[in-house]
Amino acid sequence: MDHLLLRHREIPEIKQLDVYRKNGGFEAFQKAVTGMQPGALIDLVKASGLRGRGGAGFPTGVKWSFIPKGVFPTYVVANADESEPGTFKDREIMEGNPYQFLEGVAIACYAVQANAGYVYLRGEFWNIAHDLDRCLAEMEQAGLLGEKLFGTGYSLHIHTHLGAGAYICGEESALLESLEGKLGQPRLRPPFPATYGLFGKPTVVNNVETLTNLPLIVAKGAEWHKSLGTADSPGVKIFSLSGRVKKPGNYELPLGTTFRKLIYEYGGGIIDDRPVKAIMAAGASSSLIVADDKALDTPMDYASVRTLGADLGSASVIVIDDTLSIGWVIGKTIHFFKHESCGKCTPCREGTYWMMQLIDRIQDGGMTRENVDLLHNVAREMQNKCLCALGEFATMAPVTGIERFPADFQPSVAGGKHG
């Protein structure tokens, strides 16, 4: 099947506006603005079963319906702050198929009657932001953005905004703070962005991949979308495959594809044909899955991955082979989250620091029952106490690593990269 999101794999020139339009581009946006009530558009996306692709998997249409009626202005913010180790799908969409993404932003804006949309990109996507600025200027020239679009009363402008190197800004309330010119630190919720978002106004925050699905859903309908993937998780998903596989990269597949198929059929198997030891399904914030036959044959949809004590999240699949020790793996994730903790809430700020001290001690010849138990205890104590999900994320690999891979934490183990 041809790609639906990574369409540049078949049509490399699709990053040019005229080529995108020749391939049906912006027909969906025009159809929505000229022929659909915003409420009907929200109902269509609800009926399609599309769930957020950024990690939480929340139904997109339902999220939109939380926007209160009659409160203006409203805003749509595209979350393009892709920063989690293992995640590199939004970057490819924006580089290869930027107009489909921007059309998605425009459709979301119309659905909640926003006259302004922002694309918040991580600072490292400086070149992508410049390319998107060029795309937006061309859309204005072509009458696809601006005042009174397609002869209706609806007006829309979209702007890019660059972050500056802070993982936490991928958390939606921290992203909004950052977009307001403040430190990227999460807000206490409620109120949620749907009622109190950007500049205190009702705001929808959607992930890049989520938005890129919208033009096709509007063009082809909810039933078409539901015919892909599984009943619980309809549609296609971009799986970012990394780690010890022969062919890492992005693979766009129906939700419900098994881990085995992704790793062996698409990823070419493990480097040096070693056995696969562990899988992280959702990047560095994942629980560690023991890669036995049952796990490998599990379909990658939101509900099935949960039966393995993990989440599909953003579907950033990191593959760990038997040459690597789990102590080393969790050392890497702990250092990442320690670096990225924003410092606002105590459990995360102090907890990530303590976890780092402990894993460093363990890897520095201190693999004792006492140290391992203390690390496990600190991670457990952080859970359910942090202001945002980042603190929770930081605990997932340490807790599940210690619980599910006890052999890697025996006092006889050296604790280095290879055990």
Binding site: H161, L179, P248, I318, C342
Partner: protein
């Protein structure tokens, strides 16, 4: 002054946000002034604060919070190697070690000619193309992927040469 020095850019940046929400322009303006010297001067922070009607402390705290803003001079280019988990599984740590060895520097320490500072950074969304780094300079921020130490040394030689020619 900022508005006099970059009238067009400042106007364009401010136009992105509602007039009563000027503060949103703080990050784009910091990027703008960072182009000048490769870092952000105290004077520039004061100018931005005045323009946006916020305190200098507000601006200083934004500079301090985000890792891509710099308030002091470093090597002309920052070579920022990702050493996070997926990259480390593809040899990023060894790459960083060998690169620093070849340059005779420690991580975070500029080369003696002030051209390059090699840094270890967190995820750059290129996990499938490690070893990789981003090259951050006054005029650019670009990705170099699937790199070897040899090819990186060639790149550094080219940067040296173009620096000399520019002089």
């Amino acid at each position: 002054m900022l508005a006099e020095k970059y009238p067009e850019e400042v106007k364009k940046i401010l136009a992105k946000y509602p007039p009563e929400q000027k503060r949103s322009a703080v990050m784009p303006l910091l990027y703008l002034v960072q182009r000048d010297a490769g870092y952000i001067t105290k004077q520039a922070m004061e100018d931005i604060a005045r323009l946006l009607e916020i305190t200098t402390t507000d601006v200083v705290s934004v500079v301090g919070f985000y890792t891509l803003f710099h308030d002091r001079e470093a090597g002309k280019y920052r070579m920022q190697v990702c050493t996070d988990l997926p990259c480390a599984m593809r040899g990023a740590d060894q790459f960083l070690e060998q690169l620093c060895g070849n340059l005779g520097v420690k991580v975070g320490e500029p080369t003696s000619d002030g051209l390059i500072t090699v840094e270890a950074v967190t995820c750059l969304a290129a996990c499938d193309k490690a070893p990789m780094f981003q090259l951050q300079g006054r005029d650019r921020l670009e990705y170099h992927e699937n790199m070897t130490v040899d090819r990186t040394m060639e790149l550094i030689a080219a940067l040296k040469k173009s620096g000399k020619e520019a002089k």
